[in-house]
């Protein structure tokens, strides 16, 4: 009754019913893998909700930051404890959900023309989500995150020509930690980054709705699925409920980032076995495997952290960002596609994807090389050289192997679908229509 009257009131003033009618009737295709991006969206909403509460309980001043986190997140402050735990768990799950969603888009070819721009928006959000996570986890000024910031500062310092300026802007002073470091992090974490992500999400979803969702083939010229209301609305509420339930369970029964155990940051103290949140671990691994050589150009040093700390992630990000165009160039396929491919249909993509995942996993594992060496009783040196070789050779081997497997699967599938002798073979062309394939001689 209240809902109906409100809707009517709005319609009389803004003519919203026509729009609502279209929106509620819109058809969405259904597949389990299409919910992965939704999980990411819901993690983001949880982050904003819990984050707003946290800004009111947190003291961003460098002097009091650590103490205020301890006070708001102690176990004897159950509300603060739950909200901070949910916030941190949602952050690590957010990045994970984006990556899994992105893998789905990648391996099914959903990024192809005409959806290249939306892919780029998504890759940008992955980067921003990682930055938001890093700046947020650094806010408490505890012993673990402070060391991470010190490393980030050194990486900024390593940039040729502008290193000192970059590091100075970041830290707000001549040395680490500059007097304004925490306030800089705070502004980035609670304002600039989340607002940018929010705007990009709006663009991401707007493009998705406007261009319509891709799907595995049913009818290339039509979207086949269910209306938003009621089918899809119920499904997405179920996804939301599942997201929240998982977060509540994780936050309650698995404590993450117990800053009370780390102590406040003091520049001369570090924990053994200190590793960052999982999405930053590949950088830690890269720094461990990186060369020790310091190049000098006319006496100016380029410190070794520059290559693994900045060049490697930048190149990776650019490669991902431009992948739709790189693939179009490699395959020569520039036609628009609304129909998804099975991952094994495109061995090239499977190979590249497998190589990238291999590199990411290897660098992440390398972030714990000291503990691996101790557990396996091997020399750390040996392990580092093993990892370095795997880093250079592994992607080639893994990529070729994965592509080969994809080719076999594709060939077997084609064999199974072999037509009877006098049947006509219909082949779907790039424009979504069907053509008859010429019968082969013999």
């Amino acid at each position: 009754m209240i809902v109906r009257r409100t809707v009517g009131w709005l319609d009389e003033r803004f003519g919203t019913n026509a729009l609502l009618h279209v929106a509620l009737k819109k058809i969405y295709p259904d597949h389990w893998s299409f919910y992965l991006g939704e999980f990411a969206l819901y993690f983001f909403l949880v982050l904003v909700g819990t984050g707003v509460w946290l800004t009111f309980a947190f003291d961003a001043g460098a002097q009091n930051a650590y103490g205020s986190v301890l006070a708001l997140a102690a176990r004897n402050h159950p509300i603060g404890y739950e909200i901070r735990q949910i916030h941190h768990w949602a952050a690590v799950c957010f990045v994970a959900a984006i990556l899994v969603h992105m893998s789905r888009i990648f391996f099914t070819g959903a990024f192809r023309r005409p959806r290249e721009l939306n892919w780029m928006v998504g890759v940008t959000m992955l980067l921003l989500a990682s930055f938001t996570g890093f700046t947020g986890y650094s806010l408490p000024n505890d012993g673990l995150s402070g060391t991470g910031l010190r490393i980030a500062y050194s990486v900024a310092l390593s940039i040729p020509l502008i290193g000192r300026w970059a590091a100075g802007v970041f830290a707000g002073g001549d040395d680490f930690p500059g007097p304004q470091l925490t306030t800089h992090l705070y502004t980035l974490h609670v304002y600039f980054l989340p607002v940018t992500i929010g705007a990009l999400i709006a663009l991401h979803l707007g493009l998705l709705v406007y261009q319509k969702h891709t799907q595995f083939v049913r009818d290339p010229n039509r979207v086949v699925g269910r209306r938003f209301w009621p089918d899809y609305a119920l499904r997405t509420v179920a996804a939301l409920g599942a997201t929240l339930a998982v977060l509540a369970l994780l936050a309650t029964f698995f404590e993450i980032n117990p800053v009370g155990d780390y102590g406040p940051y003091r520049p001369w103290i570090v924990m053994n076995g200190a590793v960052p949140d999982w999405y930053a671990a590949f950088l830690e691994g890269a720094l461990r495997l990186g060369p020790a050589t310091e190049i000098r150009i006319a006496g100016h040093p380029i410190p070794p952290v520059f290559w693994p700390g900045l060049v490697l992630p930048s190149v990776t990000f650019l490669f991902l960002l431009l992948w739709p165009f790189i693939e179009a160039r490699l395959t020569g396929d520039r036609a628009p596609h609304d129909v998804l491919e099975k991952p094994t249909q495109v061995p090239l993509r499977v190979g590249v994807g497998a190589a990238l995942i291999f590199e990411g996993l290897l660098l992440t594992i390398a972030a714990g090389d000291d503990q691996t060496a101790a557990t396996l009783h091997v020399r750390l040196d040996t392990l580092v050289w093993l990892y370095r070789s795997a880093l250079l050779l592994g992607p080639i081997v893994v990529g070729l192997l994965a592509a080969r497997i994809a080719m076999d699967v594709r060939a077997r599938a084609a064999e199974g679908a072999e037509p009877p002798p006098d049947a006509v073979m219909l082949v779907r062309n790039a424009h979504g229509g069907y053509e008859e394939e010429e019968p082969q001689a013999g």
């Binding site: 159950p78 590091a167 001549d174 409920g241 952290v305 700390g309």
Partner: protein, 248 residues
């Protein structure tokens, strides 16, 4: 019916969590009730959605691909409205936009001051000077220059070797600036826990393994008249990671 059961769980969970919070129950009670509420929500929506499963799929046409209009401008607009000068003006604003960004950049100085110098006493974390018999053979302690312990480049490690002699090195790793906090006495190695750079204490803290590009700067030591350890001068090299402007 199933939906109603799940929604009952949701209501019970939400109210339970409210009560848990109101009465200061431990996080496990609050979080457990929250989880029940959310599981109920997911279950109710999921059950309601699967009740609709029997219905047929619907379809909606996709827009055709390709150009939609040969020329986006209205037909009576034939000459460019925004010519080159407009773009030049835009470029000028872009240059202007760099001003606030550049103005943020701090003076590109790195304090070269470590606080160490001839005759400066070594102090511990509690600001107490260090008598020459403070450490046993193989012992290690973090030390600071008296009166300047807060300087970021000040921290040093003091190690007493198995021969009874003291050595002191900067504690800031030359790789990424982490504190070189681990000491392995058997092989007399200092190890940085961040990226596993290893320095040989018996060989001038030379970087023998890992990504550090330089040895740790050393601090020459002496004993003053009262038997406390003092520095003979500053570190014998620059502290911490290098940068473009640190021309050696």
């Amino acid at each position: 019916m199933i939906v109603a059961i799940f929604l009952t769980l949701t209501i019970a969970g939400a109210l339970g969590a409210t009560l848990a919070a109101a009465f200061g129950a431990p996080p496990s009670a609050l979080g457990g009730a929250l989880a029940v509420a959310f599981i109920g929500l997911a279950g109710a929506a999921g059950a309601a959605a699967s009740a609709l499963r029997a219905r047929d799929d619907l379809t909606e046409p996709r827009a055709p691909h390709g150009p939609t209009h040969p020329r986006p401008l209205p037909a009576d607009v034939t000459r460019p409205v925004f010519g080159r000068m407009w773009f030049a003006a835009l470029g000028a604003f872009a240059v202007l936009g760099l001003v606030p960004l550049v103005s943020l950049a701090r003076k590109p100085g790195r304090q070269a001051r470590t606080g160490w110098g001839p005759g400066v006493r070594l102090v511990d974390e509690n600001n107490q000077p260090i008598p020459h018999d403070r450490l046993v053979d193989g012992g290690i302690e973090t030390v600071f220059p008296q009166g300047a312990a807060e300087l970021p480049e000040a921290p040093a490690v003091l190690i007493r070797g198995d021969d009874g002699g003291y050595r002191a090195f900067s504690k800031i790793c030359t790789h990424a600036g982490c504190p070189v906090a681990l000491y392995r006495r058997a092989s007399h190695q200092l190890i940085c826990p961040c990226h596993q750079s290893i320095f040989d204490v018996e060989d001038g803290a030379k970087n023998i393994s890992g990504p550090a590009p330089r040895p740790l700067p050393a601090l020459a030591l002496d004993t003053d008249g009262e038997g406390y350890l003092i520095a003979r001068g500053d570190f014998d090299g620059p502290v911490g990671p290098d940068d473009w402007d640190r021309v050696l």
